[in-house]
């Protein structure tokens, strides 16, 4: 048959709103794939959870509700134990490094959690930092402070003495405005994107935790793709990972610059001594994770060690 006759049409579901970075990378990937396969593949994108919500994504792709989906692994703790290790407090400096480390880790361990899907790329958010209404420069400033954060950051905030408040992002702007929470703990692009700079005048750079994402494809769909399309997609796995990490990092530094300029937001950086003091509080979290991983029959020590080595390797480049 001719290439034209075999035009493949794929549905790509994503859960956050269209302007966010997981959707930006989705549109970029779509464009590149359509171009590089000379139009043999057509991709329909569904942002904003219109086809699959965050927690439905993995099973939705396995069951064929969408051909491709983007998952945030931190939303399903327990399910992606190996890859979720990247969100331990292991000093991943930026999204690009984190994305490539995550991909390396996946390639090395080939976790069982992904047996039923084909991985098209992986990437991570930029590291989480503290955005607050009052300045946070010491651990004592954090004591008892109510910060909005996803469940994944609960242990970290607890270790620092702050209170993690879990609430949907949709409730957060109002909760901040009215003072129900006093700040949030997440990557900094939200300062500009969700206009939190209007309310939170202080940023404390902790660069602690990142959240891993994966783009996955239904196995049956993958098996039925023509060989040259598979080749194009395979060749884009690492490239897309690096591109997304770079985009994320740039987006965050733009957001910080904008917040400083438009809303006079002050950025607080911790001295190396202080940073060491803050990090010391977090050590038990990694130890705990290693213990749980071992209970599940996974080489917890080795995974943590690998991540640290991979970070060094990827930052050296």
């Amino acid at each position: 048959g001719t290439v034209q006759a075999k035009k493949v049409s794929l549905n790509y579901a994503n859960f956050p709103p269209a302007p966010t970075f997981p959707c930006v990378q989705m549109e970029r990937w779509k464009e590149q794939i359509e171009k590089r396969t000379d139009g043999a593949v057509q991709i329909h994108t569904f942002p904003g959870g219109t086809l699959l919500g965050a927690k439905d994504m993995m099973d939705g792709v396995i069951n064929g509700q969408a051909d491709i989906g983007c998952i945030c692994m931190a939303y399903q703790p327990g399910r992606f134990t190996v890859t979720n290790a990247t969100s331990l407090p292991l000093d991943i400096p930026d999204a690009k490094t984190g994305s490539l480390v995550l991909l390396d880790l996946y390639n090395k361990y080939q976790p069982k959690a992904f047996d039923k899907v084909k991985v098209l790329t992986m990437f991570v958010t930029a590291p989480a930092n503290i955005m607050s209404k009052a300045p946070v420069a010491e651990l004592s400033d954090l004591k008892g402070l109510d910060l909005r954060a996803s469940g994944g950051a609960a242990q970290i905030l607890k270790a620092w003495g702050a209170n993690q408040v879990g609430m949907p992002m949709s409730d957060t702007p109002e909760a901040l405005q009215k003072g129900v929470v006093k700040g949030l703990f997440s990557s900094l692009e939200v300062m500009k994107d969700l206009k939190f700079a209007e309310i939170c005048k202080y940023i404390t750079i902790t660069d602690t935790v990142i959240y891993p994402f994966a783009v996955i494809m239904n196995k049956g769909t993958w098996d039925n793709l023509p060989g040259h399309v598979k080749q194009v997609m395979d060749s884009m796995i690492e490239e897309q990972s690096a591109w997304t990490g770079e985009y994320m990092d740039q987006h965050v530094s733009d957001s910080i610059a904008w917040s400083k300029k438009e809303h006079q937001v002050e950025v607080i950086t911790l001295s190396p001594e202080k940073k060491a003091e803050w990090n010391a509080q977090l050590a038990p979290i990694t130890e705990n994770w290693i213990k749980t991983a071992k209970e599940k029959g996974l080489p917890g020590d080795q995974i943590v060690k690998d991540i640290k080595t991979l970070v060094l390797k990827r930052t050296a480049k």
Binding site: P19, H44, T50, L51, Q65, S170, P173, V180
Partner: protein
Amino acid sequence: MSLTLVGILGIAILLLLLFVFGMPVSFAMALVGFGGFSYILNLNAGVNMVSQEIWSVFSKYGLTVIPLFVFMGQIAFYSGVNERLYKAAYKWVGHIRGGIAMATIMACAAFAAICGSNTATAATMTTVAFPQMSNFRYKPMLSCGSIACGSTLGVVIPPSVVLIIIGLSTEQSIARLFYGGIGAGLLLCLLMLLTVYVVCRLNPEWGPAGPRANFSERIKSLSGATEMLILFFLIMTGLYAGYFTPSEAGGAGAFFAVVISLVQRTLSWENFKKATMDTLRVSCMVIMLIAGAMILGKFLTITRIPFNMASWVADLNVPDPVILAVIFGMYAIGGAIMDALALLLITIPIFFPVAAQMGCDPIWFAVLITVVTTLGAVTPPVGATTYVVAGMAKGSTLNEVFKGVTFFLPAYLICIVLLMVFPWIITFLPGLL
């Protein structure tokens, strides 16, 4: 068969199931959504989609305001708070034709200031207002129409789940959007009051005027309104002083309602049980309506009709005002066949850049779209608010509710036109920020 055709056929089957077969609305939406989704993809995808939607709608944190606010309304009902409130209102406005309907619309607007969802507003306000309006021999058509339309103010007047969704998906300041909603909400409320006035001028027996109470009777009646005023005051204060979020307001409201009725000793154990059971049934009915609408929405999403329509409009080569009119028309039609939030999530990313290119103020555009989509919440076949009111108002038929709603449609249209001609109604308050 093209996907668009499948979508249109699906809607046709939905109409058939609803209006000819008389199938319960939530079940019909779920069945059509399931059938269509399975037809386009496969059976396995269809059943998994249904089970996922049921689980995720049922366990959605944001929807817990529904049982909690409904419970607040039921407690107020069974302890006689609503009755005393309406008796007081009757002394003040009962002598005006349709006066109680107007008071109800204003009560909806007040409730909208503490509740961010249409359906929760409708479910609560039907409990509060409908039995009382029947007591004063108001026609179900008028009372249900007033409650259904008044409830749509729930998402126009802040807090508002729709404005939050728009804010998050367009990266606009939610505070500004909320300020923008105030002007539009008040205008819409005013036009609805005017509608009641005109309708009751033409049909005096729909909202019969009662005897005029003298001044001392009125002052005396006020004591009947105190419980509700205290309840409202507590929630407003908690909300605006930052003690709780709008999602928590329902729980706080229910708690305060129970406390007030305990202090007043107006609630028997028997009535407390009744209030609880009624709450469970009403919330289940409402949440299943939402689940049905979501399942249907997944089907329409996979047909890509909303995407295609939006891209078609965005590419139209006509003057800007025409594009705007077509966009609003599309939302009005789309809102009729699809859940408003699902529709917004799909179309906003396409329309927002178009509006920006035309030089529209983003806040103005977002608020105006909210008003247009609230229209969708009351129009058949997918009009959650109307179904909630009709399902709860015993002694009224859905037919009557839809008829009642029809009288208010001009109010929406006039509101939209006024907002287009005088954009400052929306943009004035956000400009002060």
